[in-house]
Symmetry: C2
Subunit: 353 residues, 2 copies
């Protein structure tokens, strides 16, 4: 199945055709001046001999490896697969390989991971920073995927506007008392989402934020969120800032015998794999990671091409990258409140229908 052992080199092609290796290089890269016919012959010979360019030699000569690094705060983050997939795809079609580095959530590891990537000679890096951390200026082009409020070459979803969408959705369903569920106050992304949610819900809606991180600090990780008490208090909407929290909320409510969405609506962010699979499927906001990945890779590509362009201006090239819109995916975990159903029924009755 596999062809001959050592893949042919340019020199071998050159020897086979009786030309110089420089000409082969020029023909294959289309750079120098080579007659059309010779160029065609060379191309054909390369094909026949099974020529495979040596990335190592090219890297040595040009100083470019054609590899970008992907630094993740914590690979086990459930959103990571989607990010990695999107980036791998975007990078592959731009001719880059993707080297991964995991920082296991620790800031020291993040620095170490970045160092390893640099030693391996990556041409640039895409970093999803650990919550609250900033990336020091390293001598390599970097694109950051985080929230738009992070300074630097950031490309990101418009988390705020996503929050607004969800807030409006919940408000329009008649919810007037909504619990916002977040984890960490340090996360730019979470703060943006919370802000957007509040804005979208509007002034008529009473909302409160539950910081699960604080709760866990006192009651231990994995503790109950105490949501049924909230339902008793009149809360009908539970808007989590990411799907894992939404799932936690959903199952806790269901375990306590509260019907979703009849008695309470639950929503999340990110559209993780399970969100569409649980019962009821979760209403959530999907990030356009393909676009984000393309932006990041493209920006890196430019920066690399220009030989480390000014850091601040990297992303600016593509205006649609500043806040990539999120898409509201409405499923069965959100629905009208009982109150609004009753009101609608009354309204219908009054209309005589």
């Amino acid at each position: 199945m596999s062809v001959g052992r050592t893949p042919a080199t340019m020199t071998e092609i050159a020897a086979a055709l009786g030309v110089s290796s420089a000409t082969v290089s020029n023909a294959l890269s289309g750079k120098g001046r080579v007659s059309a016919e010779l160029s065609a012959k060379i191309r054909q010979a390369a094909e026949e001999l099974g020529y495979v360019p040596s990335h190592a030699a090219r890297a040595l000569r040009t100083g470019r490896t054609g590899v970008i690094g992907l630094v993740l705060p914590d690979i086990s983050n459930p959103l990571f697969p989607q990010i990695a997939q999107a980036i791998e795809q975007a990078a592959a079609s731009a001719g880059f390989g993707v080297l991964i580095a995991d920082s296991r959530g620790e800031i020291a590891q993040q620095t170490a991971a970045i160092g390893r990537l640099i030693e391996r000679g990556v041409d640039g890096m895409i970093v999803v920073p650990r919550r609250g951390s900033r990336i020091a200026d390293i001598g390599t082009p970097v694109a950051i995927i985080d929230s738009p409020s992070t300074p630097g070459n950031t490309v990101s979803s418009d988390h705020w506007e996503g929050g607004v969408q969800m807030g409006r959705h919940l408000a329009s369903l008649g919810h007037r008392k909504v619990l916002l569920i977040a984890h960490s106050r340090e996360s730019n992304v979470q703060n943006d989402r919370i802000g957007g949610l509040k804005a979208g819900l509007g002034k008529d809606v009473c909302c409160e934020t539950l910081w699960v991180g604080d709760l866990e600090a006192s009651q231990g990780v994995g503790c109950a969120l105490g949501l049924s008490a909230r339902v008793a208090d009149g809360f009908t909407g539970f808007a989590a800032v990411y799907d894992l929290l939404a799932l936690r909320a959903l199952t806790e409510l269901q375990r306590d015998g509260i019907d979703v969405p009849l008695q309470a609506s639950v929503s999340g962010f990110d559209d993780l794999v399970w969100s569409s699979v649980v019962m009821p499927p979760i209403t959530t906001l999907r990030q356009d990671l393909a676009t984000i990945a393309e932006c990041a890779v493209e920006a890196l590509g430019h920066a690399i091409g220009n030989g480390e362009a000014a850091a601040g201006s990297m992303i600016a090239a593509r205006p649609d990258c500043d806040g990539v819109p999120m898409k509201l995916v409405i499923r069965q975990s959100t629905g009208p409140t009982m109150h609004s159903v009753v009101a609608a029924a009354a309204h219908a009755r009054k209309d005589g229908r």
Copy 2:
């Protein structure tokens, strides 16, 4: 924060100390014959000048890139983060970088991805094959992570034995009618788990297998599993072959007002991130991915060292890799059946306690 621009080369170190570059190379690699004192001086100079070895040059000369490829059937598989993390860690400590390639579930893409990795000159690859696919013999060392029943250089968890553990656990809780929930008949892993479950449950337990893939083929993806009807039929145990299915089962049961674990027990495999977070947390089996990753990387390392050792014997080096044991994690989604609780109570009464 970052040091001077172009990192020093061996030649520069040599020039600074007035020795030859070969000596520097020997001192740093500890290979040739260099006096202890000179060696120390060189090492120090390297440190001071901020020497960073050029991977490209080394790769060109030695033919080794120090990079291994990780080919995944579908990056968006929720187990992937754990696998990637484990492999990245094992590879990093063995001095390898990890280049990722996603095959998006398609067999053609898998081949293409492998091709790209080879072109980039990876020294070896770790492949998590798409269900039911076999890896053709490429001219590069390969380690496969799948089920032990896959022929070749496979390292894997002992899925069968894991199934046995879970089967015994459920049987010991008194379950006598258990529904096994799997997705695809083509998956070796799933088949192993199913087999183990049946063996562990023993002959006294009536069990049936629900193939969700078949169900979805007729009723559409994301359809209901119809589990409450099963409960009505007397099923008390629901053993899924992976956590996503378990989650699906759990939420469906809860939505239908069935109490878990009082009326039905639910179990999964893999201990994904949400399993410990939902209410009730899910009883599952955790794979020892760290060990698996170490085995795979170590095996690759040997094969690479020997210059493509005979494929079949790669893994054999480390005997504990054939079937890495899984760890049963008992949480609150499984519990004794009502029947057994009643029986125990009766038993206690009869004992006069």
